[in-house]
């Protein structure tokens, strides 16, 4: 990333552009967080138009993921699949998004139908695109249709211009194309900060685990940095539409670009959190020093760091990849926020990293991350305990447009299949997928980018591979189901949930698939025992998914909510909710919009979008109770070796919880008794959570509930009525 493209190369690339369609729009400032219009682009027909945001849409769906979900709901049919032209990629920040005062306020929310799950996926990502899009003039961007050739969509928020451009020349890999386009569309070197891109990579062309890279121009490093909308294969949809990139330019960012109703409250609340972060972060989460990778040793200590495909939660070699090792690669002392004004600054960078493999071998690059999820997924879960290998995987996943979480989880699955003889060199085309073999894991990644060999099979994700290995290699489908860590088709993110029933639910009931952004309850449940009963767990699995959904409606990051806490938080009534920070959110929402929200209405805003998303899955023929069940690996020990590795714990549980004497029983017998117990517990949990959410035992929102929360639209009600019959 350190070598910028030459200007004559850029001229050459630009000269190959052909304007396929053009649209001029009136410049209009944002008022109280909204521009009150969205931008629609159809790549099949080259239609570009703006749509007004109705009062009903604003009130009911708020913004961000809510707008993305509603636009998608209106755009697709009941039988639309991810690669049908009517599928969309919708990008929006929210009303709070783009403010420069409150840390974590620059997120874009991306919504699409996922190739992995067939249902709506949503992904929350940093970088400058979403805020610049809104300040350019649009609360959301809706991209439908499929281009016939490589295409760029360019939005110029300074001039009021949208173009669809045929763009045959630019690279596909993100770290190259982002710099090409930022340098090409910026007026000057100083103006590069005003240009932001969205792109995928060659890996998105050939896999179902494609991600999107949202750029930010790094003033100090003078490189394009990349933040990922990772989950669910949106990069795959992007490339299927023959999109090479989205580009937005907006030069007018100011401290009041949202034109808030109450600037003073916004500024004061933001400043209060800045001060809290600067004062406390070093002794709390060390986000400013190392970002989310600080979690590695904590998870390892609590037996939660996924190791060998989630078999175990710690490993003697994990100190080799903990934050004290990763930090040696990370540049210190720079304001590494993914949006302006984020003093949490967790978007860390390994600068001057020399690549060892692949098409960019030998080049020195700046790599965003690695985040905790990447260390867990591409490191410990595959028994790879080499920071350089993890950073190399991180770099290539990003530039190829591949989700590090899905990649890590699927390689871990492959390595366990290898261990069990389901895979061998003949079947992998020569790859040796022994635990810890990072070079062959890297080669698999390069195959995904080239669209070759075993990479093509692996790139379809764990769910497809389970089927493939059973059909082609005669593997036991039950064993594959037990160890293949996906739910609804999406690979799990990187926490061991075996000992927390609430987290098993938090993962597996998550609407889009098992990502921890809906709920992370392991400490509340397993460590602190604050939610002992089914009702307690159900309440937590109601409140936290709703509360956390709200970040996605607003264009916010979750991290400044509870990855820093006021020093007196532990003495509050509900420390897990971080009450002072909840009030901050209420205050900044009201300050920007001029509305009078309280913390209860905040939950109601989420509940509308959450239930629309649930009904959306039902509408597409998914969303059943069966789909909310995890593979057993995420619930308990699958194998004898797993049981025996923690025999004392499990024997104790058999005695105390299951009321069965383990003495004299074989491990296999104990495994079966434990499994029956845990699966039963999970069914009870499903019942309790569905009830609390206002759903039937089958997980269908009732009409009364839809009426109560205000989304009983005829087409929404029609879907649930089909399922209630």
């Amino acid at each position: 990333m350190s070598t910028q493209p030459h200007s004559h190369d850029l001229e050459n690339l630009k000269s190959q552009h052909k304007v396929l369609a053009e649209y001029h729009f009136g410049l209009k400032p944002v008022e109280r967080g909204y521009n009150h219009r969205t931008l629609y682009v159809n790549l099949s027909t080259n239609e570009i138009k703006e749509k007004p945001v109705s009062e009903d849409m604003r009130v009911k769906f708020t913004g961000g993921k809510g707008f993305g979900m509603k636009l998608l709901w209106d755009a697709v049919k009941d039988d639309t699949r991810w690669n049908d032209p009517e599928n969309e990629i919708n990008i929006a920040t929210g009303p709070i998004g783009g403010n420069t005062n409150y840390p974590g306020s620059g997120k874009s929310l991306v919504v699409s139908l996922s190739p992995l799950t067939g249902i709506p996926i949503d992904s929350n990502v940093g970088g400058y695109f979403g805020p610049y899009l809104k300040f350019s003039g649009f609360d959301a961007l809706e991209i439908q249709g499929k281009a016939s050739d490589e295409t760029i969509v360019y939005i110029d928020g300074d001039k009021g211009l949208v173009q669809i451009l045929a763009a045959p020349g630019e690279a596909v890999d993100s770290h190259v194309v982002a710099e090409q386009l930022i340098c090409m569309f910026a007026e000057s070197e100083a103006g590069r900060r005003h240009v932001a891109t969205v792109s995928a990579g060659r890996g998105s062309d050939h896999t179902f685990i494609g991600c999107l890279n949202f750029s930010l121009w790094d003033l100090r490093r003078k490189v394009a940095r990349l933040k990922q909308a990772g989950r669910g294969g949106i990069g795959t949809v992007f490339r299927d539409k023959k999109l090479k990139a989205l580009v937005v330019k907006f030069s007018g960012l100011a401290g009041d670009s949202n034109h808030p109703a109450d600037l003073e409250t916004l500024q004061k609340t933001g400043l209060k959190l800045h001060q809290e972060i600067i004062a406390n972060d070093a002794s709390q989460c060390r986000m400013r020093e190392i970002g989310t990778a600080h979690l590695v040793e904590i998870m390892d200590a609590y037996d939660l760091l996924p190791t060998k495909n989630f078999k175990y939660g710690n490993h003697p070699d994990s100190p080799k990849i903990n934050s004290h090792e990763i930090v040696k690669y990370i540049t210190q002392g720079l304001p590494d926020g993914c949006w302006y004004g984020c003093t949490m600054a967790c978007a860390k960078v390994a600068d001057g990293f020399t690549l060892q493999t692949g098409p960019y071998a030998g080049q020195k690059v700046s790599v965003d991350g690695p985040e905790y999820e990447t260390v867990g997924g591409c490191g410990s879960n595959c028994a790879i305990f080499d920071p350089a290998a993890i950073i190399e995987t991180n770099f290539y996943c990003d530039t190829y447009g591949i989700d590090t979480i899905s990649f890590g989880t699927l390689v871990a699955f492959l390595m366990e299949c290898w261990e069990n003889g389901i895979l061998n060199k003949e079947r992998t085309g020569g790859l040796d997928l022994t635990w810890g073999n990072w070079r062959d894991s890297m080669e698999l990644l390069h195959q995904m980018a080239r669209g070759e060999g075993f990479g093509l099979i692996a790139g379809k994700g764990v769910r497809q591979m389970k089927k493939y290995f059973a059909e082609h290699y005669g593997a036991d489908p039950k064993f594959l189901q037990d160890i293949g860590c996906e739910c609804k088709g999406l690979e799990y993110s990187q926490y061991v949930s075996k000992e927390s029933l609430a987290q098993q639910g938090g993962y597996s009931m998550a609407l889009k698939g098992p990502q921890h952004d809906e709920a992370w309850l392991i400490f509340m449940d397993m460590v602190n025992n604050q939610i002992p009963t089914f009702e307690d767990k159900a309440e937590a699995l109601y409140y936290f998914p709703m509360f956390r959904t709200w970040f996605g409606l607003q264009g916010l990051c979750k991290l400044p909510w509870n990855d820093v806490e006021p020093p007196d938080n532990a003495e509050t009534d509900e420390p897990a909710k971080v009450p002072e920070h909840v009030q901050n959110y209420v205050d900044i929402y009201n300050a920007i919009t001029g509305l009078k929200l309280d913390k209860h209405e905040l939950i109601r805003q989420s509940e509308r979008v959450y239930n629309l998303q649930k009904v959306f899955s039902l509408r597409l023929g998914k969303g059943s109770r069966e789909g909310d069940k995890p593979p057993y690996r995420m619930m308990g020990p699958v194998t004898v070796e797993e049981y025996e590795s923690r025999q004392e714990r499990y024997d104790l549980q058999l005695r105390d919880k299951v009321k069965v004497d383990p003495l004299g029983k074989s491990t296999l017998e104990k495994l079966q008794i434990m499994r029956q117990y845990r699966e039963q517990q999970y069914e009870h949990l499903l019942d309790a959570v569905y009830k609390r959410k206002g759903w039937t035992r089958e997980g269908v929102p009732t009409v009364e509930h839809l009426q109560k929360i205000g989304i009983a639209y005829p087409d929404v009600v029609a879907v649930v009525e089909r399922h209630l019959r």
Binding site: T100, L219, G255, L263, E264, Q267, L271, Y340, T343
Partner: protein
């Protein structure tokens, strides 16, 4: 390095410096808009809060590189680049990066010396030296 040196033991708390400063930079006599703040101490005497141009946490914390150091060593804010996030305000260990209600941009002492000229107690002085 050029900076405003303070002698707190000489300060009589008249706040003349605050008037001079706010008049010079905001064209109004308003203590909330002064880049030097006179704060009464518990038990008597006054604390003078003003940039000593030396910590410079604001420079490294600024996400837009709007804060730089002049040839004379004075920390300056370029409003054209500033997006008013106030990271700098929070980062200053001596609270010398200021903001005021109704304003967008942070502000600070630029060592112009106007206050020092007017101080009746000789509690302020522009100096060109390294900090001891």
């Amino acid at each position: 390095m050029k900076y405003l040196k303070t002698y707190e033991d000489r300060c009589i708390g008249c706040e003349r410096c605050m008037s001079v400063c706010s008049l010079a930079f905001f064209k109004e006599d308003n203590p909330a808009k002064s880049a030097i703040q006179v704060v009464p101490k518990d038990g008597g005497g006054f604390k003078l809060v003003v940039c000593n141009q030396s910590y410079r946490n604001c420079v490294s914390e600024c996400p837009t590189q709007a804060i730089s150091i002049s040839k004379q060593g004075v920390v300056l804010i370029n409003k054209k680049l500033c997006v008013s996030c106030y990271s700098c305000v929070a980062a200053c260990p001596i609270h010398a990066m200021m903001r005021h209600e109704g304003g967008l941009y942070p502000f600070k002492c630029v060592a112009c010396g106007a206050c020092a000229k007017e101080c009746p107690a000789d509690a302020l002085e522009i100096v060109q030296e390294e900090h001891a």
